[in-house]
Symmetry: C2
Subunit: 378 residues, 2 copies
């Protein structure tokens, strides 16, 4: 299929009966409109944000393989309690893959489209776990000379999310920030940004190994939530940085409330008079991930000036608008091999992505494990 | 003490040892500065927001009386676990009473102050559980002719809080709202405002009696969280009103999360395509009270466009500024005996407020029970 007219595409389907089915299907590549191009996808990361769509609420321990080597099928059970949240996607085979990179092999008739012919471009817009992808010129970002598709595969989601955090911090009037699950690929980028931009960052990790990863990057404030001294360590780091906003990838459990409590305690160390409603300094936790799917449990021991809410990259980009968004993209491209370099554990084909031994690894969302799909891997 | 030079003032003290002590002390009335007046306080409500300061985190079941009839003392134990939250106020006898009303008996030298001589005024600024209160002209609101101190005692907190809710709804782009503990004095006012202004309001109550109170006021949407059909009833009311913001006086437990879940379900009934992150409509719950002091438990079954946070009247008024705040005050005065009329169960003296049988009633914060203190009751 090297002419790109037909290519394999990964599909994730959750059936009404409560079964997840992941498969590969042949799909014709849409002809490009005037302002569109066809890209041969050569690199697409498996981000935590992709896993939500790829495996949904399925119980990974029930996973089974069928089909053939060329056309594998993965199935798994979705627990009944989780089916309510899946209601909107039942019986629709959905393409997956938020971002990727590849080479433009065909273009529409516009000058902007023609200018991309043969170029290596990064892409955003979904359905990237596919051999070919037709998309608009504005969904492509040409990579600098010498950059491979693998270099540019993760240009959008993690780098823009990390920059979105420091931008949100500034726009909402905070001077430093807290990040949880801080040793992640995203967390490492955020550390590089904060070190470069002189922003105070409190990294919350869950093990000595994760703390080491960050300290090696030069992180100044690393606190371990598995230690008995966690609340004291966190409060001290908050006093030192003045952080009053946090981005939390964990979600469930007590962590968001603990962060707010420690922020209030840190503020209280410099407060002058008793206020029955607590400090008037607004303390914010944005939850952007769900590594822990239990309910968020917020023990309100931090006055009334607080907020907890969801945060996502795309609504943030909508809010700041295309001009500001473009500035962030340009920064990512200019620091592609430094601040925003991604590291992958393994590069797999579409078929290999459906191999149960690989799925067992990337579905764990473990720190330091990151897979890259090359849909045209030979 | 009818010359007003010295008067009784109620004080609430939490001692380091873990004991609450409420007492009455004689305090000299400060001489008014040029822009100040002295008011003989004749009516001050016991609002839920006053109880937080009055009894703090004390365990009301341990309450004891001592002292004399003229100078009673109330003591109670503060559970050790709750002492951390009291740290900021230890060993400081604090005056209590957010708002009140009375008659101006002495003024400073400014024209604005002199103009208030003999007038009945409503007051805001704390320390209202006292016989005399010296305060600034701008903390006073002259009441219309014929209005008694009792009519004007609750002009600020409940009416401005209720108006603050509909104002916040508008300013944050929502078209209807949800209110919990909706049969409260405040909730009844909010119903009158919403009926008058044509705003959709979903009232959440916890009993048939509370539902009846609101239906008699003409409330259109009343749902009972104690009923098995609560989630369906709530979702239906949200579909009918389009409410995407809630003000919650309960705080602890699952209610805030249930409201967000029902909002998302209501939005989903009109959604056209599956979005893996849930709807993009922002859903907000503001917690402004703490009738349930347990942790807030948020089961995130409503996508990523959500927020939960604290809401308080005074920061809201600071945010909208004095001009907009004055408009709200003027509306309250002009509808003092209709929309914003308060009803009291009992009028007590300062000594009677410390009577254990009265304290047992008002400290319960029960719907429909509201006490008024008249510090100059004969």
């Amino acid at each position: 299929m090297s002419d790109g007219r037909i290519g394999l595409q990964l599909r994730s389907l959750i059936k009404k009966g409560g079964e997840l089915e992941i498969s590969l299907v042949d799909v014709p590549t849409p002809e490009p409109a005037a302002d569109e191009v066809v890209v041969r996808v050569e690199a697409a990361p498996i981000n935590p944000s992709d896993l939500g769509l790829l495996v949904g609420a399925a119980d990974i321990s029930t996973v089974k393989a069928s089909g053939t080597k060329e056309s594998p099928i993965v199935t798994a059970k979705v627990p009944e309690a989780a089916m309510r949240a899946m209601a909107g996607r039942l019986d629709q085979p959905l393409p997956v893959g938020n971002e990727g990179a590849g080479v433009v092999i065909k273009t529409g008739s516009s000058d902007a489209a023609k200018a991309l012919m043969g170029k290596t471009v990064a892409m955003i817009g979904g359905a990237m776990y596919a051999q070919y992808r037709t998309l608009k010129v504005r969904e492509c970002l040409p990579l600098p000379a010498g950059a491979t598709p693998a270099d540019g595969a993760s240009v959008f989601v993690n780098p823009l999310t990390a920059l979105g955090m420091t931008e949100t911090m500034r726009r909402e009037g905070h001077k430093a920030l807290v990040h949880t699950a801080a040793a992640s690929n995203l967390g490492q980028m955020l550390n590089k940004i904060c070190l470069k931009d002189g922003i105070g960052l409190v990294n919350i990790v869950r093990s000595d190994e994760q703390a080491d990863i960050l300290r090696k990057l030069g992180a100044k404030h690393v606190v371990d939530s598995s230690k008995p001294s966690f609340m004291e360590d966190l409060t001290q780091a908050l006093v030192e940085t003045g952080a009053t906003i946090a981005f939390d990838a964990i979600g469930g459990g007590k962590l968001a409330g603990q962060i707010l409590t420690a922020m209030e305690a840190a503020i209280g160390k410099t407060a002058k008079a008793y206020s029955r409603y607590g400090s008037s300094v607004h303390k914010q936790v944005y939850i952007y991930g769900s590594l822990d799917t239990r309910p968020v449990e917020i023990n309100r021991a931090f006055g009334m000036a607080w907020g907890v809410g969801g945060w996502l990259l795309f609504p943030f980009l909508m809010k700041i608008g295309p001009v500001e968004g473009q500035k962030l993209r340009e920064r990512v491209v200019s620091e592609l091999k430094t601040t925003f370099a991604s590291h992958y554990t393994k590069v797999v084909s579409l078929q290999e992505a459906l191999d149960l031994s690989n799925l067992a690894v990337y579905a764990k969302r473990a720190t330091g494990e990151k897979f890259l799909i090359n849909p045209n891997k030979g």
